[in-house]
Point group: C2
Chain length 337, copies 2
């Protein structure tokens, strides 16, 4: 593979008959360059097909113009059939692209790769780091932030020390409350839940929202815990049904688990929503196509990604007023409830 010599600033300068510095200023769009010279330089750039060397530039500017998105999951999990991550990536990608920044994607499911992320960021390979979905009390965001690296999280961080790290979250509590209230309005009284993993804020907050809403109505709940996968939804639903055969509704903390729950309910010979009403959380595109179509709490995942990226760009440019954002959610009523 022959590596054609790429032209340098020096080459352009010689060709245009000016100094390196002048070429640099033209390339970077400086104002104080005479029109004639600017034209000559641009022509030389054109003729030689000059493209600035990013490494050299980064070395002196201390900027790379790229941003990392960390998915603290194994690659396996990130791209299963869970559409959360793809949607986040999409949002982040769109926003970064319009800011002319590059997206560096890092999957950090293992402890080793966790380390790798830290070294990578510390090596100055990226200008900032965004975390997509965090488990437990991950110290990494906080420790990167303390090293002066801009950090943005998706979901309220669980560690108190990370209180200075801006985050993007949705109104989990409000969304769940709307879902439960909808079930109550339908006349359901034996409302169970399939909660998400309890080492993730989304899992914890949605469960808390469910419990609060039920308590408000003076009802007791019934909880099974899943891990956001479809299979865990199937299993959790089976457990709930065997423990309380007469339950008449279930709030499921993710669409994927809700789809699993849907099949488990149908497999048990019950009708949806006639016997058991089901509400999910996410509103993936496929949820319109399930049988029956899934009633669910829509969270604007792509927007979360966009917002994270926007916060990040703010941090990188050290603009003032970069604060955590909580986005609204919306109950989408379809056939399942």
């Amino acid at each position: 593979m022959m590596t054609r010599e790429r032209p340098t600033l020096e080459a352009v300068a010689r060709r245009a008959g000016v100094s390196r510095a002048t070429v640099s200023r033209v390339v970077n769009g400086s104002t104080t360059v005479a029109v004639a010279i600017r034209a000559a330089v641009n022509q030389a750039v054109e003729e030689l097909g000059y493209v600035p060397n990013q490494a050299a530039r980064s070395l002196v500017t201390q900027r790379t113009e790229s941003i990392a998105l960390i998915l603290p999951e194994t690659a396996n999990r990130v791209f299963s059939d869970d559409l959360f991550f793809p949607a986040i990536i999409r949002g982040v990608g769109m926003e970064l692209e319009s800011a002319d920044k590059q997206l560096v994607l890092m999957m950090a499911g293992s402890a080793a790769s966790h380390d790798r992320v830290e070294r990578y960021a510390m090596a100055g390979h990226v200008d900032g780091v965004m975390f997509a979905s965090m488990h437990g009390a991950d110290p990494l965001p906080g420790s990167l932030a303390r090293m002066g690296i801009p950090v943005v999280c998706s979901g309220r961080p669980m560690t108190a020390t990370d209180s200075d790290v801006p985050y993007v979250d949705v109104d989990q509590f409000g969304g769940v409350a709307a879902a439960v209230r909808h079930l109550l309005a339908m006349g359901r009284r034996r409302i169970a839940t399939i909660a998400g993993p309890q080492d993730m804020v989304a899992g914890i907050d949605r469960l808390a929202g469910y419990q609060a809403a039920l308590q408000e109505a003076g009802l007791a709940g019934h909880v099974a815990v899943g891990d956001f996968t479809r299979d865990s939804g199937v299993r959790a639903m089976q457990t709930l049904l065997s423990e309380d055969p007469s339950l008449d509704a279930v709030f499921v903390a993710s669409d994927l688990m809700a789809h699993g729950a849907l099949s488990a309910v149908k497999a048990s010979g019950r009708g949806v929503p006639s016997d058991v009403a089901v509400i999910g959380f996410d509103d993936f595109e496929i949820s319109q196509y399930s049988d029956p179509p899934l009633t669910t709490v829509r969270q604007p995942i792509v927007d979360m990604g966009r917002t994270m990226a926007r916060l990040m760009i703010g941090l990188v440019n050290s603009s003032p007023g970069v604060h955590s954002v909580v986005l609204p959610v919306e109950l989408v009523v379809r056939g399942s409830a």
Copy 2:
């Protein structure tokens, strides 16, 4: 955001009482360093929390240790509910991670971003470029390759001039043939197809395979064209059914379109597979859960990603024997056919 001073080689050298060059050799694991010195240097590195500056290193080594994956689609399309891209990313990610290389993700749906990709690669920001799903006769892979940048494509490139660019593809022809033969063995004779977009090799090759297999059996086909989305599957199926109400099978060029076709068939009051047998192509995880479960041609998408990354790493290390790979596919028979 205070940016804590990161220690440099120089600082480590002073602390360990040696020269910069020696530290560099220790850090890069050179053999010819006395044990005592090596220990002293390592200790200094530890104490200062030294991490080499990647930009400085790249500047002299001309290597960045990162690889770009180009998705020539708008971000919107890449992460719709099509699981092809996520799976490719997953495979690529896994393989690159184990080679300690970084994945830089670029979505290049527009002409502008197309340009951006070229400049980015030319700027030496990445050591190589992988293309995930190409439309039409994209000149970019070829032109990057000619500039000496390692390039790998997924799917046989459509341009003849790119014949030197290694690619990873699956046995589209064989897979489709197996599907059609299966339908024939079921006794179906009016076998239609929903083809993929005809500006993509996957679309073209699968249609060609369908036509060849039918011709071999002395039958005529019936073609509708979709764009790999679920909606287009619905529409195409409606068209097919209205044009030939008595068709008894359809081979659909992607699982997502097949799911659309499934609902269109059912909506028309026909049974699957009793009236119309349906076979897809992909074997996404959800295809086990459709109603009825989808018979489909499984392509090893994650493996395609892994293989692309492996080829890429071979190119970057200029190892000999980097050749295009065609992976096998497999007919997975479930309820729909």
